[in-house]
Symmetry: C2
Subunit: 385 residues, 2 copies
């Protein structure tokens, strides 16, 4: 066995969190040596005003900039290529991403192509990005993906209609500016869906075979924060709830970037690639289905998740307590009024064999507490349907 | 108020932890772009064999190297200057530190002078290092200082016989390789003294006015690990206890680098500078004295520390529980057979006014839950005497 395999790793960007963090975006890009910024975002965010505010802060530091906003949900390979062309043509030297998971993942893809060349498809998998990439400052506008603090990027291969997972130390952003103010412009539906993504990150990182004491407390605290704040955040968007979700997303991101994920994400990626469904909504459907089947392979950890979600598990067996985690997750999805079946998204049952093939090969399956064989993955999809 | 003041920050190096981590020191230095290594260590460590093993790993990667080992406990300004001259003369481009807090702090000082010039005295204080410093790989050989994961360096001003605290983002090492094997060669006395340094870091970071959810769980877990493992680690040096202490030191380092410290360190620095006493031993004497006086200003947190140290505080008031933390700390010092009075170190009572002057101005005092005025600092010193 290579010594690397037995070593535990932990890496995060420089994290700055709090109301007003966006205001140092210009200073941050400049500190990284940037003079010409590629600002990656999406059309919806341009409308919120956050992009204008970002530009003001870039200008205040005398930075030149160009905006690339042609990024969709589940960002596509051709968007990455187009963004990389803009980066090169405008001779940018730093990337600022303002957005949810999609603009941040697109920014990472653009960064890869800017210095490593080739096609984004070449980098699918683990540690295939060999050249350093341009420095990145990420400013999340949702409390969901956590991509601003991770070494993950997920990009859709448009020809194959599948998601490619890219994990590489090189694409960890340099600076994450996390400003809970920016969550104010999310729709209630987006708060709910992205919040379920955060919950899935936290739970999967906590039960991951690579979890360790540097990731566990953040994963578990993120679970607790989601339980306390997500319903209120979606309903009323009061600042206290948004701050709670902002911190939950951050801590879940720290945990899963270093402990990786599990079967929920392995099953979610093919669905996102094939049907272009929002990642958070898919996770909300899959999470209870996977937890129910995963539970026996990590009873104590699911029991602790139940407790973190507010269940009174005193005196219970580990199995009974773990079952409470499932109840809490279902109740949360119900309270948020989210879809609970894949059939609500026009997912075709006939595609399940093909989806299961991709899910089995997904890198996130490797750290699930149980390695599902192909037939059991098909069963999971059917149960979720 | 500047927006910076209200933002919370979190930054750590890339951390790699586990048995065998030392073996990737060559690869790590090379990955940072290094070709000629300045290896900073001390004469005691040369004797342990870890320096030879480090050199083998550097050679295996084709790296050139020069060893600078003239580093004492409480490293001195003139040692930093000498090391920086070696760095320049040999045209080094990366620094590897193998050692306890002293070689790692010396390496940071050398890194500062290598690219910022001037005298090390110019950088005392917060964020005065303006130029990027050479990349650093740090390999700790004690479970105490945690300097391998912090933005702190403490260097003695030999003319003034005082310690200078340097806090700067620029001196955060790039990579920390934490290999519990290296603790095997520590003497039992050193395990005990450095372990008390870790406990002081954890407790001070936890009650610090800058603590937040990204630092709290690591601080509290470090307290728990010290309580579980330090006595065994000092007595028997079994690998499980050493691994526990290694993780405790790491988590305490993560916590205090981001939440800063408190009155124990503010009072310890002048003593270390003036009498050249081992920092861990000074902390062991000061910790219970400060905790007793600090307690009222953070009752709930000290109550949680008591619980983390294994006290049964069920049904107790916060004050009674907090008092248990003090009892646990005193018992630990007693179990370790450490000195418990400053008078055991030939500290002169007549110097107390001068020591208190430095302690009041020490940067660590700013984040203590209570700002002690000069006369109360003198009282603390007298109580510890």
């Amino acid at each position: 066995m290579d010594v690397y395999d037995s070593l535990q790793k932990f890496e995060v960007p420089e994290i700055i969190h709090g109301i007003g963090a966006l205001s140092i975006v210009g200073k941050s890009a400049k500190r990284l040596g940037g003079e010409r910024v590629l600002l990656v975002t999406d059309p919806g965010l341009v409308k919120t005003g956050w992009v204008d505010e970002t530009i003001e802060h870039l200008r205040a530091e005398g930075l030149k900039y160009v905006v690339y906003d042609n990024v969709s949900t589940n960002p596509k390979d051709f968007q990455i290529e187009e963004g990389a062309q803009v980066y090169e043509k405008k001779q940018c030297d730093v990337i600022v991403a303002v957005g949810g998971g999609s603009p941040v993942d697109a920014a990472k893809g653009i960064a890869i192509l800017a210095s490593n060349r080739g096609a984004i498809q070449d980098y699918e998998g683990c540690n295939l990005v060999t050249q350093p990439v341009p420095p990145m400052v990420c400013v999340p506008t949702t409390a969901g993906a956590g991509a601003d603090v991770t070494q993950f990027a997920v990009v859709t291969n448009s020809a194959k209609r599948m998601k490619m997972v890219i994990i590489s130390r090189a694409i960890m952003p340099e600076i994450a500016l996390i400003d809970p103010r920016l969550l104010m412009t999310e729709s209630p539906e987006l708060v709910a869906a992205t919040g379920m993504d955060t919950l899935a990150h936290a739970i999967e990182a906590y039960v991951s075979s690579l979890s360790w004491p540097l990731t566990d407390p953040h994963a578990l605290h993120a679970v607790e924060l989601v339980s306390q704040h997500l319903v209120n955040a979606a309903r009323s968007k009061d600042m206290k709830s948004l701050e709670g979700m902002s911190l939950a997303c951050l801590e879940a991101g720290i945990a899963f970037s270093n402990a990786i994920l599990g079967a929920v994400h392995a099953l979610a990626h093919p669905l996102g690639g094939f049907y272009d469904i929002h990642h958070g909504l898919v996770n909300a459907v899959l999470l209870p289905v996977v937890v129910k089947r995963n539970m026996d392979h990590s009873l104590d950890k699911y029991a602790r998740i139940a407790k973190a979600m507010g269940a009174d598990t005193a005196g219970m067996t580990a199995r009974a307590a773990a079952k409470c985690a499932l109840d809490q997750i279902r109740k949360l999805i119900d309270d948020l009024g989210l879809p609970s079946r894949l059939s609500q998204f026009d997912v075709n049952l006939e595609d399940i064999a093909r989806l299961a093939e991709f899910a089995e090969a997904d890198i996130c399956m490797q750290t699930n507490p149980y390695r599902y064989p192909r037939d059991e993955i098909e069963t999971l999809y059917r149960e979720a349907w």
